[in-house]
């Protein structure tokens, strides 16, 4: 009896401590401006840049929190929805940024970001600008999507990098004949499927096809170019371009790039991050020069510019409107002085990443793997249009439906027409 009583009191005391601690935590967060960024590739660079900032600006201290990539979208949405957002936060621009602007949850940072925006490659900067005002600025590398291929496998099959869709189909046949998976595809992760519809619809009909979707036009998914792109995808699937076991391949464990590196598959359509990934997991494959790359081929009869790219133009930072004027002042100083400044550009270049900044060609030459870096830099620099991943560009409801339906299309469970009809119903 005595013991249980004491245990009960202890539990009560513990719960009080917990509540007090929670209150104290909240109070601490209010005292300093804060920044949320995502974990992953550029995390060490971003961490170092915040430490650097806080050391040189003790009066403008910013509390830094890194949040895992997969849960970030949910976390920031809950924080914004409950009016407890950090001062500065990471986002991918696109549909969510548009929603933040419509709900007056982010502030216009045009003045503070003016110099930065002048230096950024315009097709990248455009993603953070809504109605002529800057609401988000890029702060890490540009990551265009491209083909990577295994030179050894291509040589064995007598195939050279295709420049047209027909050549791609021929390459698929030739590669199947030598018994490899022509194209590695991480359908289990679903988002790599987007790259195919994005590039094909752009090559066939130009960026206007998807812009109509973004603008919410009736029947935008039934656009002939969209339906043709969907049909081409099923043509590739039916030909066995992705092998017969692509459904469970996952990109987050890099199984898709591993297939190319070990020669089970010949090529892969992936983001620029696949290069450092393969360099890390199969250094001998990359260092010996067996890894090649090429841009998405043109589609005969298509009207899209072959220089257009898709992918992640960059990651962006926005300032929340729920911040105090003092916090906004610190945030604007951070954006004007720290984001993609000379040191940050150097940081990115030193890890082989491409900052989305104009006129840095000379600074790339002479670095390790500068052939790939220069090619990637020119790809971004010369692109008239840099299409943000559709799942980021669209609002949540349509992005989710897009991934669901695309997954079914690749599994041949629905036809291109079914896809268009279902998606049009959500417009």
């Amino acid at each position: 009896m005595n013991f249980t009583k004491r245990a009960g009191a202890a539990a009560l005391a513990l719960s009080m401590v917990g509540i007090l601690a929670a209150c104290a935590g909240g109070a601490r967060a209010d005292a300093a401006p804060s920044i949320w960024t995502v974990g992953g590739g550029s995390e060490p660079m971003v961490r170092a840049s915040l430490i650097d900032w806080n050391e040189s600006n003790p009066d403008k201290y910013i509390e830094h929190e890194v949040i895992a990539n997969d849960v970030f979208k949910e976390r920031i949405r809950i924080a914004l929805g409950s009016d407890t957002p950090p001062t500065i936060f990471h986002n991918w621009s696109g549909g969510p940024l548009r929603e933040y602007v419509e709900n007056n949850q982010v502030v216009d940072i045009s003045a503070a970001a003016a110099d930065l925006i002048d230096r950024v490659i315009p097709s990248v900067a455009a993603n953070g600008i809504i109605d002529g005002n800057v609401y988000a600025v890029p702060y890490v590398q540009a990551a265009p999507v491209m083909f990577f291929y295994n030179r050894e496998v291509f040589d064995a099959a007598g195939v050279s990098p295709p420049t047209t869709f027909t050549e791609l189909l021929e390459a698929v046949d030739a590669l199947q004949d030598v018994g490899v998976i022509p194209i590695s595809l991480a359908a289990g992760s679903r988002w790599p499927l987007l790259m195919w519809i994005q590039y094909l619809s752009d090559r066939i009909g130009g960026p206007e096809v998807f812009n109509a979707v973004l603008d919410g036009e009736e029947g935008a998914w039934s656009h002939p170019a969209m339906v043709e792109a969907l049909t081409r995808i099923q043509e590739l699937v039916d030909r066995g371009a992705f092998g017969d076991a692509f459904g469970s391949v996952m990109a987050d464990q890099q199984a898709d790039t591993a297939l190319v590196a070990n020669g089970n598959a010949a090529m892969i359509l992936q983001g620029a991050w696949a290069f450092p990934n393969m360099l890390g997991s199969s250094p001998e494959f990359v260092e010996s020069g067996y890894l090649g790359w090429f841009a998405f081929p043109e589609v005969e009869g298509g009207v899209g510019d072959v220089r257009n790219v898709v992918g992640n133009p960059s990651d962006f930072l926005s300032v929340s409107a729920a911040s105090t004027p003092e916090e906004i002042e610190v945030a604007e100083a951070f954006i004007a002085q720290n984001v993609l400044n000379d040191d940050r550009i150097e940081d990115l270049l030193s890890i082989g990443a491409i900052p989305p900044i104009q006129g840095i060609r000379d600074r790339i030459v002479g670095r390790p793997h500068d052939d790939f870096m220069l090619w990637k830099y020119d790809l971004v620099l010369n692109a008239p249009h840099f299409q943000l991943s559709w799942d980021q560009a669209l609002d949540g409801a349509r992005a989710q439906a897009l991934l669901d339906n695309l997954s079914q299309l690749f599994l041949s469970q629905i036809t291109p027409q079914d896809f268009a009809t279902t998606m049009d119903a959500l417009q």
Partner: protein, 309 residues
Amino acid sequence: MSTATTVGPARTRRADRPARRQDGPTPLMAVPALAFFGFFAIVPLFGVLALSFMSWDGLGDMTFAGLDNWQRTLANPTTHNAMRLTLMVTVATWLIQTPISLLLGVFMAGHQKYRALLGVLYFLPLLFSATAVAIAFRALLDPNFGMGQALGLPFLAQDWIGRPDLALYVVLFVIAWIFVPFHSLLYQGGARQIPASMYEAATLDGAGRVKQFFHITLPQLKYTIITSSTLMIVGSLTYFDLVFVLTGGGPGFATRILPLDMYLTGFRAHDMGGAAVSGVILITVGLTVAILLNRLSGAHKMESQMEGI
């Protein structure tokens, strides 16, 4: 002796209020637990119910939507599919796990040394987090790098979680792999409660092992079966982490069970109202099944099975 009897009543008299006549600690001690339960379980429950009549994207203002969410969600083929899958998972889970757990549990109840050792091994899966198990199975079942390749067995190199017709069976298998140890443990405990004298009597009467199992073990485990089934059935209504990590609901909609559909609707498609409808349905079904199971089986009376012993 005499001192003891005088001290006893004196103490009772000092605190002579009717409530103190009961044994055990004062009901006040339940207050912290009740407060936590009320704040973190009951209040959100009503919150979800209210949310199911609201339209909210998680960012902007909530607006009253009336029965809109209910009509939309109940007419949605994706929700129908999710409900059908959840029902299938629930029934299949029970059918697969009950016999296995029952037999394993009864087997482990024996006091032989090797059985104790096996019992420890069987118990291991229960210690792993569902997320870790899902990641491990995803790697093992990978057609390109998984055990099919490692062991050189082409049969195992199927596109297990990439084919719509296979993925659900994989999910059922992994769920069973995780939860059979827990239910075996329940049955082991139950079987050890059965008095040895019953078996001795049955042996004297000439009953064999099989007869003993069906006429003594099984009836004696009645309440354990009810407990285990309730946990299994209500548990199948809430499987989330495992399926989320293992298949993400895919390929297509092949493993998108209702709890997963609720999460994806709410936190990915930002339709909090629609997700709340699924939540209310899950809670209602779960509670109803649990109560029905309890009533129908007569377990709420919890009468003794040991009469005459």
